[in-house]
Amino acid sequence: MKQVLERFAHNALALLAVITILFFMFRLMPGTPLAAFINDNLNADQQQAMLAQFGLDKPIWQQYFIYLGNLAQGEMGLSFFQRREVTAILLEVLPNSIILTLSSLIIAYIFGVLAGAWLAWKRGTWIERAAVPVVLATRAAPEFWIGMVLLAFLSFNLGWFPSGGASSPGLAYTSNWQRIFSLDYVQHLALPVLTLALYLQGLPLLLMRSNMLEVMHEEFVTMARMKGFSEWRIVISHAARNALLPVATAFALGVGLSMGGNVVIETVFSWPGIGRMLVQAVSVHDYPLAQGAFLMIAAVLAVTNFAADLLYMVLDPRVSHGRRS
């Protein structure tokens, strides 16, 4: 329990550091944030009023604490351009990003784990020799480029998938849940998920493969082999279970990491997620919105880091035993 608290404090502190860095980065930038408005209707007084409205006329340390206080209450201020609560705007798009991330990660990890175990089993064959560079290449290709090429072939040319967005024009749903589980949504989700999964499967695959190779040398596997179990059975029942632990940790970490990386995929596929919101906010210099979107991604990252820490503690006997003794 003490350990859990320690890890929690750790991650919370790191998040606070990120918030602080971000805040000062935004405030200490050259030029006034109001330069984002090209609006000759505003005279000097009105500009001053605007600064006051966004709290930008106070000393910077004061602004910082006001900001922290508001943040603690879940308030991130008003978007410069949309004039709406940043929190509300972000919560509307967050589910789309989470669904995109989770479904591609799940597909990538199921595929990666199976294929990785299989490749470990096939070690030394030409299949393995050919597969490893191919997998490395999928990890090396820029996501947006894979997306571009898939979109061009599968959507524009063959017409198998919609060209973008999250649902067909004008479809109304009674609730967000109904929308998410509709066939239409799944159809729109398919291509971005596929692209992302293609990019993400490399890590679990290679991880699984090398863990398997390592585990298969350990004593209990040798024991099993001596007992005369078949090779495949050893792989499944002994090696795989142990090799899975680091993969599970990687999965938890992957949620946070790819939430941030989704920025490009969401742009290519016009997916209404938090990454695209960030890109859009940055490009029009909507400071509060950009800051909020960034923080929300950072918060997801912190939560998943914490989850990964916990998972590691629970799953890896070496860590917990080592600490206990």
Partner: protein, 551 residues
């Protein structure tokens, strides 16, 4: 005096170019030409490269500097004395179909410090013309003044006008009856006239249009971005509308006429209703013009400051009294101010009184209008859905108007092909591709319209050498306009040399169209003004000094 100094310079040049350079004249310093990155505006970027190539041949050092949009705005708009030249653009809007806005605000010296005259062009003669045309209710007289203004700008060349771009838009004729699509002068087919008359042919009753930007706000007292006005246009009525021909026409008003130079008689159309079913009254109309007058709608305030008083004259009639005669009033104000229901907004504005917030920052905006469409749903970054308002006097024939947010051109065409879109309201890609696409998909009809707006190179008239009209003329005329059209805008543009677009055929002065461009012309102008070439570099006329510390 001038001749002597010229001769002196020439004599010095004859003796020794080096000595001349040091003693008599100063070399024209390196000039920065700011532009957008290729990724943001490929045409303007291409144009800046071509222009730099041509200017270098005049003996100038040109540095082309692409800046991201925000950085450029910060520099050009907010540090007005710190730049030389920049690529810039003025975009077309329906209310810019009246020449007043461009003629007045772009070059009137009162806008030089903060407003639209960001280049700092100050010419008392021009100010007089700009003010004069605004007060001329007589159309023929006003036209003469506007011609004079164009000629003056042609002479002074504060901008090097490049082109009026042509924007291709498209729709699917298998879904909509082709001849029910209306083209609006200087705007194109994406306009309220099309949206109210376009007729569906089959089962698809929804018009699905794209936008590359998302909607910022949907508020009758605030415009946050370009797309916002597409939507507010349809939800809220105005007394007048800019018609397909570019002139204001009665819309919610049955009639609006000048009683005298400063008084307008307005009669509302009978039987109009708000989307909540209540009738539209004269009180509502008067309230709509009073609401922005306070401090609660700063963006709309400038459009009503001309109004001195309003007075109800009957069940449907009211009178508007102005400070000065104003020729552009029907376009600039009556076609711009949204009619809003008094029963909704009066309490809202009362509630805002004494608070620092204004109506632009409202978190909950009541979107009851009286326009041909009402809002049903708005999902940021995805789509906005409007539904036809059957009680409107110009009730649409389509059932719904749906705008999808599609950030990239490639996906836009994909969607058009698959029927996920059936109306192209904006196209950010290569126009050639669109034309080719339409050839391969015969149901797609492309309509192209020349813009009221224009693309140009702005010269900072505050700084040498651009404080010299001759120098500006030379640089402007060095630019081959046909090359601009073909090499930068891929023939989707017409050459420009005026702030009044040729699509406004009544107001555009054809006399300024035929400018002679070319390096020979430019070199001659420079030579005549006393500039000298030495060792391939351009020098100021003798005695002229820059007197500025470059950035």
């Amino acid at each position: 005096m001038k001749r002597r100094s010229l001769m002196g310079a020439a004599a010095a040049a004859a003796v020794a170019p080096k000595a001349f350079a040091q003693s008599a004249a100063e070399k024209v310093r390196k000039i920065n030409l700011y532009t957008w990155p290729q990724a943001a505006l490929p045409q303007a970027y291409q144009a800046s490269q071509l222009i730099a190539q041509q200017w270098r041949q005049l003996g100038l050092d040109i540095d082309v500097k692409p800046l991201q949009r925000q950085a450029q705005t910060a520099l050009i708009w907010y540090s007005r004395d710190k730049w030389d030249t920049t690529m810039w653009r003025m975009v077309g809007r329906p209310e810019r179909a009246d020449p007043d806005e461009f003629v007045y605000s772009l070059f009137h010296s009162s806008y030089a410090d903060k407003g639209y005259d960001f280049i700092g062009y100050k010419n008392p003669d021009y100010d007089k013309l700009a003010e004069k045309q605004r007060g001329q209710i007589d159309k023929e007289e006003r036209r003469k003044t506007i011609f004079q203004a164009q000629e003056m700008i042609n002479r002074d060349q504060p901008y090097a006008f490049l082109v009026h771009p042509k924007y291709p838009l498209a729709f699917n004729k298998a879904v909509f009856k082709e001849d029910t699509v209306v083209n609006q002068t200087g705007v194109g087919i994406r306009n309220i006239w099309t949206f109210t008359t376009i007729e569906p042919l089959g089962a698809q009753k929804d018009l699905i249009i794209n936008s590359s930007e998302s909607l910022n706000a949907c508020n009758p007292l605030y415009i946050g971005g370009a797309v916002d006005s597409w939507i507010t246009d349809l939800i809220w009525d105005r007394l007048m509308r800019i018609g397909p021909d570019g002139t204001p026409q009665p819309w919610a008003a049955e009639s609006a006429t000048w009683a005298d130079d400063t008084t307008i008689d307005i009669k509302l159309r009978a039987g109009m209703k708000w989307h909540d079913g209540k009738p539209v009254t004269v009180e509502d109309a008067i309230f709509s013009f009073m609401a922005p007058a306070g401090d609660k709608a700063p963006m709309y305030k400038p459009f009503v400051t001309e109004i001195v008083s309003m007075e109800k004259t009957g069940d449907l009639g009211f009178k508007m009294k102005l400070k000065n005669p104003n020729a552009a009033f029907f376009t600039a104000t009556l076609s711009k101010i949204n009619l809003i229901p008094k029963h909704v907004w009066e309490p809202v504005l009362k509630d805002l009184e004494g608070k620092p917030e204004n109506a632009e920052q409202l978190k909950e905006v009541n979107r009851t209008g009286s326009g041909p469409f009402k809002i049903v749903r708005w999902m940021p970054n995805e789509e906005i859905v409007l539904e036809a308002f059957p009680d409107h006097f110009k009730a649409p024939r389509i059932a719904r108007w749906i705008m999808r947010i599609v950030p990239n051109a490639e996906a836009t065409l994909g969607m058009l092909k698959r029927g996920e879109l059936n109306f192209l309201g904006f196209f950010g890609g290569d126009p050639e591709v669109l034309v080719k696409f339409a050839k391969e998909n015969p149901d797609i009809v492309v309509r192209t319209e020349t813009d009221v707006g224009f693309e140009f190179v702005a010269f900072n008239c505050r700084r040498a050498p651009f404080d010299d009209a001759a120098f500006r003329r030379a640089l402007s005329f060095a630019i081959d306009r046909r090359l601009m059209v073909s090499a930068a805008w891929q023939d989707f543009a017409v050459p420009a040399n005026s702030h009044v677009s040729p699509v406004l055929s009544y107001w555009h002065d054809p006399a300024v169209d035929n400018i002679k461009t070319g390096l020979a012309v430019a070199k001659k102008i420079l030579q005549d003004a006393g500039y000298r070439l030495s060792g391939g570099k351009l020098y100021y006329p003798a005695g002229k000094q820059e007197k500025l510390t470059t950035e």
